[in-house]
Structures are given as C-alpha cells and as structure tokens.
Symmetry: C2
Subunit: 255 residues, 2 copies
C-alpha cells in the first residue's frame, strides 16, 4: 500500500497550488488534505484558542480525502492528527504556496506553520512555494522536482526536529537546485496610512522588503533571484548555542 | 536623556503583566507601548493583510506613552516603527506574558512574535514571561531581574539576529538564573470534540504537553520546573547548517 501524506496550506483548500500538489503527489502516496476554508497567509504558527474550530469533508475518492477547516494552518494539522487521520502519516507537506517563503519572511508563513507543526509531531515535513502570486500560475514545471524531493524524504527521512523549506523561481525553467540558508533582510515603510471616510484613519500592512545580502549564492532569496530552486533545511530548535555559551559566562555567578 | 524602549505583548494593553513591565522599566527608560486591544495569545508571528489595522492613544505622561492597536503583536511592532516612534528604540521588549513561553511552544507565542519582529528590525529584543496564568499573579519578584537583564542588554547589546526568551517560575523565590536551550516536547490530544446544540460538532484546541526531556538541566522547561529563571537565546536564522552540508552532497549533482 502506498504511504500516507498529510497536506495543508495557507491559501485555502480551493487554491490552485494545492490542487497541483495533489496531482503531483497522487502517484506517490495516499493523500489526506486538511486545509483552511479561505486564505490564511501570514498566519505563521498561529493557533486558535478563543473560538471553536470546525471541519467538514469536501471530497473523498481515489486515495485523496479533502477536508475544509475553519482554523489556521497549524489548527488544520493539529485537527488532522486529533480526529481525521487513522494512521501516522509518512510525511506532512505544506503548499504549493502562491508566493515565496524565503529569507526571514518564512517566520510569517502559514505554509511553514504547517511544516513546523508536522516537524513538532516528529513527522518528516516539507514546504513547497512558488515565487509568484499569479492565481493562474503554471505549477507543472514544479511537479518532477516535488516528486523527486518527496521521494527522497519518503525513503531517507529527515533528522528529528528538522524540516525543509523549498522555494521555486517564477521562471518555468530552472538553472538547478541549490541547498540554501535563510537570507537576511528587513521590511521598510510597512504600514500605509489612509483617511477613513467617516473620520480618523486606518492602516494597511504593505511595505518593501530590502534583502540584506545580494551576493551570497547560498542565501535562499539570492538563489531564487538567480533562477535556482532553493532548498533550505530549517530546525525547530531556535537556540543560539554560541550566545548560550557566552551568556553562561556572564550569568554563571547567579546560579 | 534616558534610552527609549518599545514594549508590546500578546495579552493586551490592559493586562497586569504589561502594567508590571512598565513599572519595572520606568526607572531605566522612556517607554512607548503599542499593544493589542485584546488577548492575542498563540498568534506567533502572524500579521494582518486582509483587514485594516487601527491604533489609538490610551495614555501619555511621565515618559510613558501607551497605544492600543487592533492588530496582532507583530502588527503592533510594525505599526510602532511605521508611524509611532520618532526615534529608533534602544530595545524592543515583549511581556510580561501571563503563562510561560518555554520549550518548542515558543513557536506559538505572540510575545516571541514581538521579539522576533524587533530582532528583524536590528533592535536588541527580549521577551519576559511568567509561568502562571493567574490573572492576579504577583509580578513584583520579577522586577529586579527584569531590570538587571534589561540593563545588561542596554549596555552590551545582543548579536545581530539573536534575541532573548526569558521565563520566570511561578514560585516567588528563585534558585537562580540558568542560561538554557529550547526544550523538546509534543502535544497530545489537542482538539476536544463537542456536539453542537444545533447539530453537527465543533472542536476546542486543548491538549496535554508532554515534555520530551525530563533530566537535561539546560532545557528551558526543565530549568523552570526546578525553580530557575530560564534565559534562552534565540536566533532568527532557522537554517540547520549541519543538514545543509549533508544535503549539499546529495543534491550537488543537480546544480
């Protein structure tokens, strides 16, 4: 029997990227999809405490079951494990995201929220994103690479506490695949003020991302800009061990 | 003139923890608070794209300005930089959170969202959390430690891309301070199903956190359990450099 893969995303279960991911993975695995009922971009690892969460079956055939869920991407994964899956999945996959999740901006990503959550549950987890917000973007060039990376992870696994963040350039042909690190950068002018027609003002989150490094080939955003698929391994453990050692000297007198 | 510190949290600007933080930091700095108008726990690094964000001045006196904001903790920090602060702050501080933000659960934390955002902006950033959800918890034992850690960071700074996650035990006396790493653990039985009175069912996010390591003294949750203040340095760069090196060998044929 084919292995089972749990899929979620942050663009909603009706997104084109999710449909393309299903088609790409169908030859490799049985699929359970539990995904938000609407766009939930920028939700990071957010989860829902204050309101109840609902789920409902959308489709179930040919080894693909699709559930809609009222919660965040992380809620979707948690709810799948709590009351949808009847066996441990071999992998958790997030995507295909409409838009890249590269550089420090991965910290805002609901797609990466899916993958962090899978990783926390001890399941090998991978995010796929396309560097295009075009709702009619062509995902077919990604398919062989998604199948290749998924097959590799199904066969070899990933170290405990580590997941993969895979970003594809918008260009339909790739120069190749590059193993990367998270690029540094900063947002500028992030909120735009508008006058409210009834008085007062309000703000839209917007802004311009300034990449902090433009030449390091292994920075994920640079690799994308150069036409490479960027594969960045992420670890859940956020500890800065170098600073830990340093601070131990500073604070050691206080134990 | 005293340095300027930007404060936010995820419990809302009226929370007791925030008021205690203001009192603790007042002797050290001028303070600008931009904090959510209601509890926004579990919002991680989420930010708001689909609805406008509002802010309003709540109080402004004695070198303390307090703004309420309709957005997430990360929105609060972004909006402060975009249209509240008139100078770069010397630090960004999140808290004092009602409840701990230790182990892998820091990934869900809006308090850590504040601190990640400050760190992304290149500002030394620190989160303070108390391991108690009692809304009337006594924060006074934390004050000298918060002043000590803040003074240290004001004077010495933090490396670029690194921030601090500080958790205090619920006990009013501490055995000391321990520099820690993020503990591993997993949530079990995370959603509780309920019958809806109008038919169908819904779910509440709940569950039990099982700490994955019970004996390693430098795991932050273990230090807390043993009565120590846990100071964990976090780095923004989530790259797993060990796996990066390994994957480069696997995929190097594809460039």
């Amino acid at each position: 029997m084919k292995p089972l893969i749990l899929i979620s995303n942050d663009d909603g279960y009706q997104s084109g990227g999710l449909q393309s991911l299903i088609e790409a993975l169908r030859p490799l695995a049985r699929l359970v999809v539990v995904a938000p009922d609407k766009g939930r971009s920028g939700m990071a690892c957010a989860c829902t405490f204050s309101v109840p969460v609902y789920k409902w079956l959308v489709a179930d055939n040919d080894d693909v079951a699709v559930w809609g869920c009222s919660g965040t991407p992380v809620d979707c994964v948690k709810l799948a494990f709590a009351d949808v899956l009847t066996e441990q999945p071999a992998m958790v996959i997030g995507g295909i995201n409409h838009g890249d999740n590269s550089a420090v901006n991965a910290h805002y990503s609901g797609t990466m929220g899916v993958v962090y959550e899978g990783c926390m549950k001890g399941i090998p987890s991978v995010a796929f994103s396309l560097d295009s917000h075009d709702p009619f973007a062509d995902f077919t060039p990604l398919v062989p690479w998604i199948q290749k990376i998924t097959s590799y992870v199904l066969e070899r696994g990933l170290p405990k506490g580590t997941c993969l963040n895979v970003n594809f350039p918008a260009t339909p042909t790739y120069k190749g695949l590059r193993v990367c690190r998270m690029a540094w950068g900063q947002w500028k002018n992030e909120f735009e003020r508008r006058d409210h027609p009834r008085g007062g003002d309000y703000y839209w989150l917007t802004g311009k991302f300034e990449l902090g490094e433009l030449s390091d080939a292994d920075a994920d955003r640079v690799a994308l800009n150069e036409g490479y698929i960027a594969v960045t391994p992420f670890r859940l453990d956020a500890t800065d061990y170098a600073l830990k050692t340093e601070l131990e000297k500073v604070f050691s007198a206080h134990e």
